[in-house]
Amino acid sequence: MTATVTRVVVVGGGAVAWIAAAGLRRAFRKRGVDVLVVDTGMPADAPVARWTLPSQRAMHGLLGIPEPELLRRTGATFKLATEHVGWQGEGSHFFHAHGDIGTDLAGTPFYKFLVQQALNGQPESPENYSLAAVAARLGRFARPMGDEKALTSSFTYGFHLDEAAYVSSLAAHAAQLGVRRVTAPLVAVSRLPGGEVESLQLANGESVAGELFLDCSGAESLLMKQLGEEERDDWSAWLPCDRMISARAPAIPQLPPFTRTVAADAGWCWRLPLARTSAAGYVYSSAFASDDTALRHLQSAVPGLEAPGRVVLLASGRRRRFWEKNCIALGAAAMQLEPLAGAELHFAQLGLGTLIELFPLDVSGAIEGAEFNRVMAEHADSLRDFTIAHYRVGRARPGDFWTAARAAPPPQRLADRLDLYQASGRINLHDFETFEEVDWAWLLLGAGVIPAALELQIRARVENVTPQQVAPLRAHIDGLAASMPRHSEYVQRSNA
């Protein structure tokens, strides 16, 4: 098999499908690559709304989607942070902001100073030193600006998106790029003697041929499951939530520019603002709450909640091989992970970017597949670890669910990372990490994890810094945050 890849068939109808289709079309249009989406509808596991990482901005750039237009069309809002409430017990809360903590002190990350302060018995929240977090708390927003060293560019932002509006906007954009679409359920696949997929048989009687097939159909993995038994890594011992519900709710006054998660008896609830409405959900474990109990809990937490869609089943884990023969799983077809870190579309984007870099020269693509699988497994496991860490850092929230979430020893690479931090305040990152040192610092300091000691050389640089010396930074941040427009006004203006 040495046929060149000229026809790519994408199975699915949600955000991941349209992003992948538009991305491949845009990258290889000049090469004459034709992209067809077999629209199997919105994946069953799609939420009513989602929050994204700042990398979605780059994704829009890559696809050529103008951000102001997108916001106008979809009623999206901006996201400066996630607030995690109750994860270390009642009354606990912290922000994980999309931005720097302070400014470097003599080449040393500012959070090390906060660790030293905590070791001195004077713990202080990183939020006070982050423009993004202070602005989030005040309900204010402006896009970053100025030169890269300025405080005004010390942060970035993600989005809160209404899923249906976002998907139809992506689909329209893909169509403009020349992505074709056929809407029909997938019935069967025809395979070549080597096992590669040759064509898809659809319920409308059509047969769709191609050289490369992407499964972007969500957790159901409509295409990959046709290829036979999948080998999976099961993560449920660390991530016991196996159900999700979500629904629209009335708009939140003043539009807080952040997502909120709230620890509950059997998992955690989330709430995010949209321009004219809002959304909420509950991610929970069926071992600790029935679907009815979960629904009642969410309803009582969110007054005016609309009727949720059906319960989504979540099987935390990932495929061992994302790329098999000439089929590639992207998004939830590749990995199922609760949306705590807001990285679902980011993961799809990583898959798309890696696929563009490894776009198979012909149908065989075995070595490209091996490399794709190696790289994406690393990405997936990094996202897994960051998500699991939320359950395991700081004081344990009381309750059976929370005890169960910490019962199994963590994955080795996460254990290694947390151990090293606890011993020395050091955060080591490896290849293929989505979350950077500062993100881990937000999580660890936010959860109140104080290491036993700080690296000697780092300590020498921060131990003589006094709170008085950094007070002007706090004042500067407070002043800047107060001068930003209200998020609600900013969004209104964007939507005007």
Binding site: F359, D416, D419, R426, A452
Partner: protein
């Protein structure tokens, strides 16, 4: 509670020992450390690593070493890369440069366009797009620029120096900063009852020296890490069969090259390292394929100038200590592992062990006498990764050959290589993609140099490189070539530059003959 000073005992005073002493003395505040170095003037040092990598400049900066002064004291020359001769075929030559080939175009790495142009008939060599290579071939040198828009920022440099003078220079630096040197042999090691770590070492003058942290820089034998702690060693001879070397200095002749040369030979390879006052040479070989006498004779017959000493034999086993940090002993240098100096990594591996150790210490160790096992394990994982990545890269040099004129090349050409390397080579052959990583040595340009230089030619390139208009691509390629060429010829010769920047005093009694 103020932490107690950390008592550090360094065993051995070669390159590794004095680099460690100098760095610890420079970086740790004086009240927080008490550093002792024990070496015997009766035991010779291996004096490994006369050629370095650009990373040494970070080390120098971190500990506050003045570069021109260091160079003048060590008879140093500049190094822009390594020339590899006869590796894929007899007669081949390529330079592994300290710098990039061109720069990304439309987000796609440069070499894909070079391959495409080649496919469309261009005969320009990849070397024409590298300033450090073109400058090397012309024996020219200039310091790079910080301006990222300038072609002068596309390269780095390292040094070639006399390792025994380097150790001597660092000794002065360390002693000025309070390191206490003792000239003695170690005759006994006492282990701690509690955890089996080292309690103290006994010297031949009767003194017993105790400490919190022992740094084993005793060379191959690993006096503490192996002889006392029995840590174990992973051997890599099946991939890196060379186990001996013969070293000999000779007189300089001809222009001073700003690069090291590694020439593949009948049973290994020969190094050639130009210094201001002499040339360092050596033959690294496998005792399976040549005798010591024959290796010495071959080496002596292939020198640029008159030999200045008798050939000195060395023995080693390629590999790594299972744990380079075991209890309270950290093995640095040859005590930690050995990888032949084919890519001048010896000093890099010493440096990375020192700086990583310094990064990981918390300063509480002095008070408790204990090292947090979580830190020890993290350190060992990091050092392992560094060694393993260098290992794969070295194996590539031996494996990617078409030579069938000697047993060693037949063996290496057909040997089974680690899966990680197999995968990297296959991906490169298929589509010119280099597997890269964030940490560790040897980034994309290094892999490209060896792949292209050793005839691992891809059958295709990144399809994204096809998007650019052919004429536009030719224009951009030509512009890079012209810029490289015109910049290189404007540089002064390596010798002129050295004479201005760091003239060394003529060799004194202190310099190894």
């Amino acid at each position: 509670m103020r932490p107690q000073p950390l008592k550090i005992v360094i065993v051995g005073g070669g390159t590794a020992g004095w680099m460690t002493a100098a760095a610890f003395a420079a970086v740790l505040p004086a009240q927080q450390r008490d550093i002792r170095l024990i070496e015997s003037s009766e035991i010779g040092i291996v004096g490994v690593g006369e050629a370095t990598l650009p990373h040494i400049r970070f080390f120098n900066r971190r500990i506050g070493i003045d570069e021109p002064e260091l160079m003048a004291h060590t008879q140093a020359t500049f190094k822009l890369g390594i020339e590899f001769v006869n590796w894929a075929r007899v007669g081949d030559s390529y330079i592994h440069p300290f710098g990039a080939y061109g720069s990304k175009m439309a987000g796609v790495p440069f070499h894909h366009y070079w391959l495409r142009a080649r496919g469309e008939g261009s005969d320009a060599s990849i070397e024409d797009y590298s300033l450090p290579i073109v400058a090397s071939r012309l024996n020219r040198f200039a310091l790079p620029s910080d301006d990222p828009t300038s072609v002068m920022s596309t390269f780095g440099y390292a040094f070639q120096f006399d390792a025994s003078l380097y150790a001597k220079y660092l000794r002065g630096f360390a002693e000025q900063r309070g390191v206490q040197r003792t000239d003695a042999k170690i005759v006994d090691v006492t282990l701690r009852a509690a955890d089996g770590g080292v309690e103290s070492v006994k010297l031949d003058n009767g003194e017993v020296v105790d400490g919190h942290l022992f740094i084993d820089c005793s060379g191959f034998r690993g006096l503490l890490i192996e002889q006392a702690l029995k840590t174990g060693y992973d051997e890599w001879t099946r991939w890196l069969p060379c186990d001996r070397a013969m070293a000999v200095p000779c007189e300089n002749s001809g222009p001073l090259t700003p690069y090291t040369r590694a020439t593949a030979r009948e049973a290994g390879w020969q190094w050639r390292i130009p210094l201001q006052h002499r040339m360092g040479n050596g033959y690294v070989y496998s005792s399976n394929f040549i005798s010591d006498d024959e290796a010495a004779a071959k080496l002596l017959s292939r020198l640029d100038g008159k030999p200045l000493a008798d050939p000195r034999p060395l023995r080693f086993t390629a590999g790594r200590r299972r744990k380079t940090w075991n209890r309270n002993v950290v093995a640095i240098g040859l005590a930690g592992g050995f990888l032949e100096p084919l890519e001048s990594t010896s000093i890099y591996l010493i440096q990375i062990a020192i700086t990583t150790l310094l990064d990981y210490l918390t300063g509480n160790e002095g008070a408790t006498g204990q090292f947090d096992p979580r830190i020890v394990e993290a350190y060992n994982r990091w050092i392992e990764m560094e060694y393993d990545r260098v290992r794969d890269f070295l194996i590539l040099h031996y494996h990617a050959t078409e030579r069938d004129d000697a047993e060693i090349w037949n063996y290496c050409r057909t040997m089974d290589v680690p899966d990680s390397l197999k995968h990297k080579m296959e991906l490169f052959r298929r589509r010119a993609r280099v597997v890269t990583y964030k940490d560790g040595l040897f980034l994309e340009p290094s892999w490209l140099a060896v792949y292209f230089g050793q005839r691992v030619m891809p059958t295709a390139w990144d399809p994204l490189a096809d998007a650019m208009d052919a004429a536009e691509m030719q224009r951009q390629l030509q512009s890079v070539r012209e810029q490289v060429q015109s910049t290189a010829v404007r540089m002064s010769t390596h010798e002129e530059f050295l004479a201005k920047y760091c003239p060394a005093t003529p060799p004194s009694m202190g310099a190894r003959a």
